[in-house]
């Protein structure tokens, strides 16, 4: 009987396009899945649906004009991307920025990180099927967006960094608002745990899913919270401290498990660390200028320049090859999401389609960053 059935009830491999318009792919990402029933055999990435040739556009823009384009890469950590370009030019021209600027930049970066992680937390729950978390995440995000709007003038694409400082001085309400946010968020973060992290259904969906070992994580070049969930120490803020990160105490969050739940917990713990960084700095903002005067036309000396920052998704790098003109000869962005996404096949092989959605969520991708 069994032989009779296996002869006739053969399963067949087939292909399924996931995306480019699927809501669980966080944008216009297309995944070509090779499936056996519901089990994933292979995941192939098909990028290019939101390619805007930003690197090429940078070659015709001056260094001042490049900054606003980096907002449009990883829009959730736009401040860190701006900072990378500014730090690179300041480093190349030996512009010394004041302590006040460094502290402002660090605080804004950490606020961006919290806002990005809060959004990720909400969307993570929604991908798994818990729609409530999306609304709860946006409640806290709204407070940070208000801080940004008041000081920087925009909520998402802030474009607040300029070469040699920041565009405006801090608004007088800034410190008060940040303090309000810290007390509010300290109360609400345990609520996140109660609502989602400790939920058994949620844990069963993530534990042991999307495993990647420490060796593989290094081999694939994973970075950011995704790699730290596999126990790889890779925090740029620790390795190459920039801005004011050398004067604050914080812990690099490492979880050795390497599964989706470990990556989830890394991000939750990172929010606590960001809060503590903000708390250390908010009372100690030095007085001084918010902007150093620079030349009207900025020309970089000939040579290669590289600057790395830790964005909310990981190690964001800007590489500039200059021929001494006011435009860069070649500019390359190293985006953290792209490296993280390449490991998707390794993580998702042999699992179900529903698990793929959970894994994509814990990698925390932003497609415009991957597809520049």
């Amino acid at each position: 009987m069994e032989e009779f059935l296996t002869d006739r009830l053969k399963t067949q491999e087939y292909f399924l396009n996931m995306g480019p318009q699927h809501p669980a792919t966080h944008g216009v990402l297309m995944l070509l899945l090779k499936l056996d029933g519901e089990i994933i055999q292979n995941v192939e990435l098909d990028l290019g649906y939101i390619h805007r040739s930003i690197e090429k556009m940078c070659e015709r823009d001056t260094y001042k004009q490049i900054i606003h384009l980096t907002d449009r890469l990883d829009y959730l950590s736009s401040h860190m991307n701006n900072e990378a370009v500014c730090l690179l030019v300041e480093d190349a021209l030996n512009i010394e920025v004041a302590d006040r600027i460094k502290v402002i930049r660090t605080m804004m970066s950490e606020l961006s990180r919290i806002s990005s992680h809060v959004l990720w937390w909400g969307v993570m729950g929604m991908d798994i099927g818990a729609l409530t978390t999306f609304m709860y995440g946006f409640r806290e995000r709204e407070m940070i967006n208000d801080i940004f709007e008041e000081t920087c003038g925009a909520r998402l694409t802030m474009n607040y960094n300029v070469i040699g400082g920041v565009r405006y001085d801090l608004h007088e309400n800034f410190a008060k608002r940040v303090k309000d946010f810290i007390t509010h968020f300290r109360k609400k973060l345990p609520e996140y745990d109660k609502l989602l992290s400790n939920n058994i259904i949620f844990q069963k969906r993530l534990e042991g899913i999307g495993y990647i070992s420490k060796e593989d994580a290094v081999a694939y070049g994973l970075n950011g919270p995704t790699a730290r969930g596999s126990g790889v120490s890779c925090d740029v803020r620790k390795i190459h401290p920039y801005s004011a990160y050398d004067r604050v105490e914080f812990e690099e969050i490492l979880f050795p498990e390497g599964d989706s739940y470990a990556r989830y917990r890394v991000r939750i713990r990172e929010m606590w660390e960001s809060l503590s960084i903000l708390e250390q700095l908010v009372d100690k903002i030095p007085e001084g200028e918010h902007r150093v005067k620079t030349k009207a036309v900025i020309k970089l000396p000939e040579g290669d320049f590289l600057q790395r920052v830790e964005s909310a998704r990981g190690d964001f790098g800007v590489y500039v090859k200059s021929d001494g003109q006011k435009f860069p000869y070649r500019l390359k962005f190293r985006s953290p999401g792209f490296a993280n996404l390449t490991a998707l096949n390794k993580m998702a092989k042999g699992l179900k389609i529903a698990d793929l959605v959970a894994i994509l969520s814990t990698i925390d991708i932003v497609v415009p960053d991957i597809d520049r």
Binding site: H68, T132, N159
Partner: protein, 163 residues
Amino acid sequence: MSYFSDIINGTKSLLIGMRITGKYFFVNFLTRKDVITEQYPDNLETLNMFDRYRGEVTMYHNENNEHRCDACTLCEKACPNGSIEIISDKELNPETGKNVRYIVKHIYHLEMCTMCGLCIEACPQDAIQWGQNFHHVQYDRGKLTKVLNKPGSKIMIKTKEKK
């Protein structure tokens, strides 16, 4: 055994989560405290945005319909997207006997603007500044192209003070 403990723990964790959502649903709804849902701001006339909000580029005109723009085209050069176009002409000033440049049209393409603020930073006269209107919805793309200098406006006679 783990089968039953899983069921018990699962129900427990679900109830803990539902206590939070229930609290927000009932208590906050009844007491009207901590309600965070906001409606779309339809009250555009009375709405106050933050001072620094970057909505659109506008040109300052005083009560005599005069602006400060002297057609230096620095904003046009600073713009990375080509959203600003300046059409200017020359006119003989009878007092000094020199040709003076003035703007015929200061065209602003809102549909291409990314609100980076480089034009406003570049302006030496403070002629253009940020407007706070965020409600840019139009049915026709052409309506987003605006002429910033008002019809019949003239250049302000230069004074030392700014704004």
